[in-house]
Amino acid sequence: MSVADDAIRCDACPVLCYIKPGRAGACDRYANADGQLVRLDPHVVLERAVSRGDTLVPFLEKSREWDGALVSGEQTFVTAIGAGTTYPDYKPAPFIISSEVAGVDMVTVVTEGIFSYCGVKLKIDTDRHLGAECSTVRAEGEAVGHVTTNEYGSQMLSLGGVRHLTGGSRHEGTATCDALLNLCNRKAVELKIDDGATVIVEADKAPIVDNVQEERMRVGCGSATIGMFAKQWFGKVDEVVVVDDHITGVLSEHQAGKLLGVPESGIALKGRRSTPGRYFRVAEPGTSWGGTNIDDPLSILGPFDREVARPGLRLLMVSTTGEQHAYFELDEDFRPVEKELPGALRESVERIRENCEPALCTVLFMGGAGGSLRAGVTENPVKLTHSVRDALTRVTCGGAPVYVWPGGGITIMADVSRMPENAFGYVPTPALVAPIEFTLKLTDYAALGGYMDHVRPLSSIKRDEESRKRLPARPDNPWPLASAKSGEKSRT
């Protein structure tokens, strides 16, 4: 086909449109601007809310009355959500936007990254046993991740990663991509752990473990709970056992009880004694009392020592969240008989519960910025890596702050709850599409080999376009354009 001399051929898709200057291709996404192929994509403009009240409106639709001056450059930040990607063409990023911040020319490189190397780290606040460390975590029957460490009051899961996304069967990759996409877009996902629990996870919501919604995080391990509440129990009860799958605490034997002068009670705990008043493995892990598998607390006790115990001895057994509790008194035969919890103790049980924070699931997206993504920012990608490392370049995900892992490459983690809704997409590779923005001083951008001829002013991003969304910024996120470092090598 003969091509008019001033038309350019767009190779963004197989239609291969010839586009005349000032016109767009068949997609209305790519256009010819003075001989340059440019993107005209819809995307999200994250606006710094003038007042906190604005954040009550999750999606503030485009307003017609913008005059370009009302909102200064400092107040508007263009996110990469919906910006489109450069993959696999190694073109400059879809948007490279300059704005003046406190007299300094800043530039934000805005792109959507296709992350084959990505996953999520889940923190599930629960005492219940979800599964053994290293157990496979499944979604839709496919392996999508594994159980990792138990943290204080939480179970960590690691999902995704390139091995599940592209290293296994096609179905494994698709199920992994689906699970990651839904978790990142703050939707509920059901995860089944091999030889463990089924848990429904949704960012910023309580986990649902085997159909039971988790209410609270434990106040501490059993031993810590003894330490915190020993004084409140002293004089009101003779013995307290705080049942915990990890470390069960016993008041009379615990250092805290000893200091108060709590006399020995003759109690005998099952499991393995670690240090005085602290017992490991009093039962098997489970989803009942304190993350054990027991429903009857007495099942973790042996017979009382008749030499030490006395009839009428008062015993409180309570779980680490205060959700389960039982009160007993010894009969003439030294057997614990369940009685109604006295009012004085009820208060302390409630106190344990009050001190437990609401149980939540938190979802951190983790991904590594790859070759084409960095090539969309600069012709010399390693310089971008160094610039990020030196804190000259601020990285954000949909305007949300990220943690940049030390060491090589640009591997980031971001809390999906701090990003706009539905910020993630996917490509069928399968891989996740996540927004990523790099903000730095214009002079620094030039120095690292940036695409200076693609930089355009913020004012060119018209807000009155049909498909562009304006969102108020979250007040708990640092403003992406604020206090970006320059020249000095300091970390924030």
Partner: protein
Amino acid sequence: MNDRAQIRMLPDGRRLHMYDGPIDVIVEAFGEVSEIEVAYRVAAARFVDILDELCSELEFLRRPVSEDGDLPAGPIARGMVAAVKPFASRTFITPMAAVAGAVAEEILETMIAAANLSRAYVNDGGDIALHLAPGEKFVVGMVERPDRASLFGTTTIKSGDPIRGIATSGWRGRSFSLGIADAVTVLADTAAMADAAATVVANAVDLPGHPGIGRVRACDLAPDSDLSERLVTQSVGELEPTEIRDALEAGIRVAESLRGSGLIRAAALNLQGETRVVVPVETGLAPSPSAETRDGSPVHA
């Protein structure tokens, strides 16, 4: 399979948005959540192959059809040819006139073959394929101009109606038009047929030789357009009421004839605020004013 296609749920959490090159579709399915999930999954799986499939035969699809010409290989391309063939004897038309409708139809068929849905629609840039289980209905909003979201009326499509396709064409839309209609909305049995017919009727709404109409050779705007050297409308000055009536009348004649031969079921033609409709009296498909309370989910044509 390709790496370009982008697929995501819209922020409302209900609609699926997929785009790949010039194809941009919004899908919404109704029914059990598990069925909707299946439908969206198969829709996405089918979607990712569509653009490559069409582009492999793009040159053929940009050439006018003839009554006894070759058939393309792909299923969507065949649907495009079948939809435009009935018009080949009366006007210049290429299979590209039905591309959006044919794509919408293909995605819809993929979904309803895999999932049990009460209703579903696939909106490919204004060309819409519908699925209605018995007893279901859609309320369809009609726009005055494709580039504006103002409705001039709505119409209700019930499961008992034969209509399963809606398309809108006009010179202000994304595709070139040879006519001056702001919008022609056609209801037909299939989305591909609605798409082709809307193009033909919109081309017919015209005032040949009128000095107030700016026309440019298609190839001067888009060098690879299937309309090559044909003049496409780029501007329409303010018209006299009699001129509007004449132009609409020319379109109505074509629409009536298409309805008479059973190719379409109804059409609404819009030019500079004036609306004319072609509707079968017996089905009462007349557009009703948009102020009326809508009790179904509106689909914007």
